[in-house]
Amino acid sequence: MDAQTIIARRVAKELRNGDLVNLGIGIPTLVANYVPSDLKVFFQSENGLIGTGPIPEQGMAHPTLTDAGGRPISALPGASTFDSAMSFGLIRGGHVDVTVLGGLQIDAHGHLANWMIPGKMVPGMGGAMDLVSGAKRVIVAMQHAAKGKSKIVAKCTLPLTSARPVSLVVTDMAVIGFPDGKATLLETAPGVSIGEVMAVTEAELTVPDSVPEMKI
């Protein structure tokens, strides 16, 4: 199983019946592929839709039905549409149960940096700051390390997305939570040892007596 699939499958296990969920671009988008069919989850697209469905079949796309990247999507039965003030009212107002976002860095207290690399990449924050500030649970889905360098750092060197810590980080190697504001190893990926996780984690990581393996 490749890194992205491990992450997406594990994040999907966090979703509950009836949840309103917002998925960011990249790995988070893949989470929708692993939601069990008996689970009723509402996916929001922040450009104004609850009830996003899969990419439409060839020839069935409509120019006014798109995701936040402007790509064609479909709408499921029971979908609803609304303007951007409503969409971000849902996000900031705590009506979104779970948001899943990509990350560049997470620090030892759960602070996320994911919107710019000064001097290199300044695309703008889009909806990321509102999502991290307002969703009930914020889950970060990302690779544990990039080019051998830990993305889970003692202190973020990149600009923060929010002062509010995230709820959970799911990587290809581990699940990390932040009880009492301290990065804590909750699970390891199949075939990955605690030692291997520690070796590629720059942040200080609390390791409980029992660390189960991810069930994916």
Binding site: P123, G124, D130, L160, A163
Partner: protein
Amino acid sequence: MKAVSVEEAVAMIPAGASVMVGGFMGVGTPERLLDEVVRQRKTGLSLICNDAATPGKGVGKLFDAALVSRLTATHIGLNPKAQQQMLANQIAVDLVPQGTFVERIRAGGCGLGGVLTPTGVGTLVAEGKRQIEVDGKPFLLETALRAQYALVHAFLADYLGNLAYALTSRNFNPVMAMAADTVIVTADNIVPVGVIAPDHVVTPAPLVDFLITNG
């Protein structure tokens, strides 16, 4: 509301004007108005739009023609031309969180001086802004945003100017239709009064100043 040709409508907009344009990645954008803005070469625009779309699409055309001097947006990462113009200091760019962006415009259209939002507290976005505590929680004071012109696209407009929108092309259009001195609208379909039921009107007719004729 007055029905006018696209040429007449754009001729009213002076160079250097502040212009809000509806749309999200070019979806729900008044393309015919933008084509005419490019044709009449309205330079030095102060553009307020969620994003910079992509080259050749939506407001992306304004960057292709180098007509923008100031941009207030939430994300320009998918338009390399807008990025280049920003890095070369040809345009001054103010990047705003998307929820803050829409609330500032909503405030501008609703007679409010601004809004208090938790978004951006403790980040670069907070620099130079007042932080206000309400019930012990920190909020940023984000001021209202208005423009001289709003260019809006609807799915349906009736002969009076009542508007309804389609699916995800609604996005910022109804909010911007409240927040500009002059509101200019294109619609996919212009229909008789009554076709849009009162409950389905999203933007009421008195908000629309000019409707671009079809055909």
